[in-house]
Point group: none
């Protein structure tokens, strides 16, 4: 079972890379590095990290453009790391959708505190946060799911899908949004893969998958999860 938080570091300076990677992985995070903006965007799509650390000074694409591209399909937390201290740089990055902006130099403790804050904001890894409805319980911080008290094993994708729905319980999430969030922006319009995963999830958490109690289909639109009763 993989409970590690995934972090994508987009940074071209290799010494900074190894410095950040060392301090983060030493604290239980899994870090993946992209040395260019292009690589960063594609890794964000394929790797689906929990947080992205983005250096604005990249060799190929301007960091703001990376941010723009990411935000066109994803709402993954982005913490911008920059040597630029000018106010207008910060304002631009934040208004493009960055969740935080740290100026170099900074210490590892601050970085990790800001990562924790970002995770809290993304409402998923927040400690103690729980989805509960009827016999189903989802502990977001532990990435654990229980059905009538006994543990349910979901694969990585199944967990992502179910927790995405649970975080937005009561609301309809469109197929397109779900596909974008989990499989990234470069998918054809075919939702087959989503249907298969939903069938697998339902087989694991629903007593009678043909008459679901937790995840409902809104035909032609998407899926909607039963409202969280724990709040």
């Amino acid at each position: 079972m993989n409970t590690k938080i995934n972090i994508l570091l987009i940074e071209d300076d290799k010494s900074i890379c190894s410095y950040i990677t060392a301090s983060l992985s030493g604290n239980g995070y899994r870090v993946i590095t992209a040395l260019s903006g292009k690589e960063g965007v594609s890794l964000a799509a394929s790797f689906c990290p929990d947080v992205i650390l983005l250096d604005l000074g990249l060799p190929d694409i301007d960091g703001c453009d990376v941010l723009r591209q990411l935000r066109s399909w994803s709402s993954i937390s982005v913490i911008v790391i920059s040597a630029r201290v000018e106010e207008q740089d910060k304002v631009m990055a934040l208004d493009l959708g960055a969740d935080d902006y740290i100026t170099k130099p900074f210490g590892p403790a601050e970085l990790m505190a800001r990562i924790r804050t970002s995770l809290r904001h993304s409402h998923s890894a927040m400690p103690g946060r729980v989805y509960r409805a009827a016999g189903l319980e989802i502990y977001f911080d532990k990435r654990m799911i229980y059905m009538e008290g006994s543990e349910v094993h979901l694969t990585q994708i199944e967990y992502q899908l179910l927790s995405l729905l649970a975080e937005n319980s009561g609301r309809v999430l469109t197929y397109k949004f779900i596909m974008n969030t989990i499989w990234g922006p470069y998918t054809d319009g075919n939702n087959q893969i989503l249907r298969v995963n939903m069938a697998n999830i339902r087989r694991k958490i629903e007593k009678n998958p043909a008459q679901p109690q937790y995840v409902f289909t809104e035909i032609g639109i998407g899926y909607r999860m039963r409202e969280n009763e724990s709040v």
Copy 2:
């Protein structure tokens, strides 16, 4: 309707107070000031601001304690403002639940960008529109419809049609306009499909479809929905 964003500034230095207040209220925010930690906590409770700006260096209570007290009952966004640049101060404040940490000096543009980011993070600031009349409720953000408290299932087209009428409740929408909006411009003048869908909707939401209470027919013109009572 008051759409102004409310900001609570907890800061004892009056010159900073007036400086921040001036720049924020000049940009459409409503600012309330507390000159001490105690006052800040009680104002947070009574005014329910959207964002709190908290200076750590207060005369009466330590800023971190203010934060602790706030977080014991509230999840209002808190942006900490501090002259302390030490890493451990930032880490402590962020881990106590602060949403951001800005070190003095900072410009008004950055402050406002960080406020915007905080507002984005707390998506409590968007209530979601509702149509309500007699026993019928339509929650547009959840795409849900309730009749006397129990859920009503509408198909895609039925939902489009009903929400179109609800968004224009009290006004007559012509057949042509409705057809254009839902079936596109390339339809013949035949409204059969619209009549069928309206019959299906009425069967689902009206007690007696022959004497409708929600959607009225204006013969020769179109349909009109009963006025929204929720505003």
